[in-house]
């Protein structure tokens, strides 16, 4: 029999970890709220007939942000399917706040099973929580679990399947929130007025609560007459006058009073300062926070670009793709008597192009590993909190940091991660700015410039990261000056997850997924682009006839020479550099592969060759331009979708390119004068 289980709960309560454990899935678990922005479905590992849906985290069932709407609509059956049972994943270390949603989930009419997750943290902190008493007080089945260690989940899932498989008495009646006398009377009065309109899908009291809170969806669902609405409004106003508060706050307060009463019988919080709180005293300190962040990020880039990563990259560039692969392939081509032009295409075109990009894989692997480590242990969410103070001055908020952070992997999910930002202008500004952060595709460009002209200095990579943040901050200031991008002040409320030892399995999986995507891209897009670049740079017209020519007379050089003058003020006005920048629009890695093909970089590696073609200021200017200009096609597509407007998309692209041009112009010309 098919059973549908929904995983609901607050953001960062462990739903996706539970989902992965139950389905054997490989979904991305980020250590901050707002990672899941769309629901995901899988099957229970042990029973394919059981569907499990992982919902985006919500604090309440009153839909406000897009991911809350997704969860609310699914649980209320608005998406055409309603789950048979809810596994309410409760972060036991923040139980009071998590139980608020539990009291609302009871209103859906769907049976609930409580899963007390992160019980290991509760025990470690010295808090005392009697799960059995809590379950008895709420009247729902309750299971203690640690999703991280996959404990307690199988039992909870088994019970969920049992309950979901048979017709049963709805559990919502058992989570019976005790309202005050005034509120209870008001709810009874509302039931009397609108009772006949209430369908039997859930108990009348829950419709009454929705109407008391003036929930628009309940009002439209019940199809109340004007007279009924007037009577109900009078009941609500009288209650608000009597209790001295608005109806939503009254219900919220009384829910929390009920929760506090329940917890007083089964929960005792320890007075001890938690391990996380002790670390946060330094990491989120008003004066120390940003210097600590700068040091941490510098170390990340130092280790990945300048030391450990550089050793691997040097070997791959100089030995693997510098000697072994060209020699082996060259010998094979000679053995089959392949034509010289084919030899050139494969060795100087494909191997040079793809090899140049793959050469930076070791540095990227170390960087991804370290960033995943920081995220998984809980530090990255602190950065959003720290930067909120700074970002707010420039028309952004700490919530914008999540898209910026996600963009360091890839701009496409980074742009999509802007969805939870409620303010329309702030969301647009975030979308426009998010690709200023160096994504993984831009790392080869950074590594190429750092290696070729700055002796693999970690400062180059670190400065690229800082340039991204500076560009975001500056753009916030510039863009909020536009009338159509006026930002309204939004509060920033964010949960800081507890620190915990990084989960190696999670880190390696996340790092491998990113590397795999990079390798696939190199083997497809970069491969095809290298072939095209080689063809265009080796064929052209010479003395009126078309055929193989040197690169200076090739088709590509003619195209490049049209655009190259634009880049003269930036210090890299040669056709090769111009063409490389243009090919970056298909995929940013193409910049490196194009240069490698055009300069026939073989044994030396493109970074070495580049040092004879560019000065340091010109190289850095080239780096900045390619980091900050319009992103790749995939990201442009994401911008178009999230902006939902061609006009805004064009504005974003023009702004980004103009910004990149001006910054490169200034940096190059000022540096030359120093």
């Amino acid at each position: 029999m098919n059973v549908s289980i929904a995983l609901a709960g607050n953001p960062n309560s462990g739903k996706t970890t539970v989902f992965n454990a139950l389905t054997g899935g490989d979904q991305y678990v980020g250590n901050w709220a707002g990672v899941t922005v769309e629901k995901k479905t899988g099957h229970l590992k042990t029973d394919k007939a059981v569907h499990i849906t992982d919902l985006p985290g919500i604090y309440a069932l009153s839909p406000y942000s897009p991911e809350e709407i997704v969860s609310h609509d699914f649980l209320m059956g608005k998406s055409g399917e309603k789950p048979d049972v809810i596994l309410d994943i409760v972060d036991a270390s923040n139980i009071e706040r998590n139980l608020y949603l539990t009291t609302q989930l009871a209103q859906t009419g769907i049976p609930i099973i409580l899963v007390l997750n992160m019980m290991d943290l509760v025990n470690r902190h010295g808090d005392k929580l009697d799960a059995a008493k809590l379950g008895e007080a709420l009247g729902v089945p309750i299971f203690e679990a640690s999703a991280l260690h996959e404990q307690g989940l199988a039992e909870a899932a088994k019970r969920a399947v049992e309950i979901g498989s048979v017709s049963h008495k709805p559990y919502h009646e058992r989570i019976h929130v005790e309202f005050s006398e005034t509120t209870a009377k008001a709810l009874e009065a509302i039931k009397a007025v609108a009772g006949a309109n209430m369908p039997k899908t859930r108990p009348a009291i829950h419709f009454a609560i929705d109407l008391f809170e003036r929930t628009a969806s309940a009002q439209s669902e019940l199809g109340l007459s004007g007279l009924q609405m007037e009577s109900i409004e009078k009941i609500i106003s009288d209650a608000e006058k009597a209790l001295g508060d608005d109806s939503e706050s009254i219900i919220a307060k009384e829910r929390y009073d009920y929760i506090a009463k329940v917890l007083s019988t089964c929960y005792q919080k320890s007075d001890r300062e938690s391990f996380s709180d002790k670390i946060d005293r330094f990491v989120t300190n008003k004066y120390l926070a940003i210097p600590i962040f700068a040091v941490v990020m510098f170390l990340v880039y130092y280790i990945s670009v300048a030391t450990i990563g550089a050793i691997g990259t040097n070997w791959v560039n100089d030995v693997l793709f510098g000697e072994w692969v060209p020699a082996a392939v060259g010998d094979a081509l000679t053995a089959v008597s392949a034509a010289p032009w084919l030899h050139s295409l494969i060795v100087d075109g494909i191997i040079a192009g793809v090899g140049a990009v793959l050469g930076f894989l070791p540095q990227m692997a170390v960087l991804f590993l370290l960033l995943s480590l920081l995220e998984d242990c809980g530090y990255m969410s602190r950065i959003a909190f720290i930067l909120d103070r700074v970002f707010r001055k420039f028309g952004l908020s700490g919530k914008s940091f999540i898209p910026f952070l996600v963009s360091t992997g890839c701009g496409v999910p980074g742009i999509m991660a802007a969805r939870p930002i409620e303010d329309e202008s702030q969301r647009r500004i975030t979308i426009i700015s998010t690709t200023f952060m160096p994504c993984s595709a831009k790392l080869p460009i950074i590594a190429m410039i750092a290696g070729g002209l700055f002796g693999n200095s970690a400062w180059v990579a670190f400065s690229a990261y800082l340039a991204g943040i500076a560009a975001i901050i500056l753009s916030g200031l510039i863009l909020k000056g536009f009338k159509k991008l006026k930002v309204s002040e939004m509060p920033f409320v964010m949960e800081l997850p507890s620190y915990h030892a990084p989960r190696l399995k999670n880190i390696f999986r996340h790092t491998w997924n990113q590397l795999k995507a990079f390798i696939i891209k190199a083997g497809t897009i970069i491969f095809a682009a290298s072939v095209l670049i080689w063809l265009l740079s080796n064929f052209g017209f010479n003395d009126g006839s078309f055929g193989m020519v040197d690169s200076e007379h090739s088709i590509l050089s003619y195209i490049g020479r049209v655009v190259a003058p634009l880049f003269i003020p930036l210090g890299f006005g040669t056709w090769q550099m111009a063409v490389a920048s243009i090919t970056g629009i298909a995929a940013k890695e193409n910049v490196v592969s194009t240069l490698s093909v055009l300069f026939s970089a073989g044994q030396g590696g493109i970074d070495t060759i580049l040092s004879s073609h560019l000065t340091a200021p010109a190289a850095y200017s080239f780096l900045l331009f390619n980091l900050l200009c319009a992103p790749c096609f995939a990201a442009i597509g994401a911008v178009r979708r999230e902006m939902n407007s061609t006009k805004w998309t064009l504005f974003a692209l023009l702004y980004q390119t103009a910004f990149a041009y001006v910054v490169s112009l200034l940096v190059y010309n000022i540096w030359r004068l120093i």
Binding site: G25, D26, Q27, Y28, E38, K39, K40, T41, G42, T53, L333, A335, V336, S337, A338, A339, L342, L345, I346, C410, V412, P413, I415, M416, N513, A517, I520, G523, T524, I525, F527, A528, V531, A634, G637, A638, R641
Partner: protein
């Protein structure tokens, strides 16, 4: 092996690899903005849109 046959074999291999690469790019283009999404296989929204 003479140059013509050797080159033909190499060209055939290259065309096959290119065909795979282009096929992959077309598949990614069809996915649109979802191309880099790790949740692609299980995405409810996508399945609904495809139906």
């Amino acid at each position: 092996m003479n140059t013509f046959i050797g080159s033909a074999i190499v060209i055939l291999i290259l065309i096959t690899l290119l065909a795979f690469a282009v096929g992959y790019m077309i598949k990614q283009k069809k996915k649109g903005h979802c191309a880099t999404c790790p949740y692609y296989e299980n995405c409810e929204k996508r399945k609904k849109e495809e139906h």
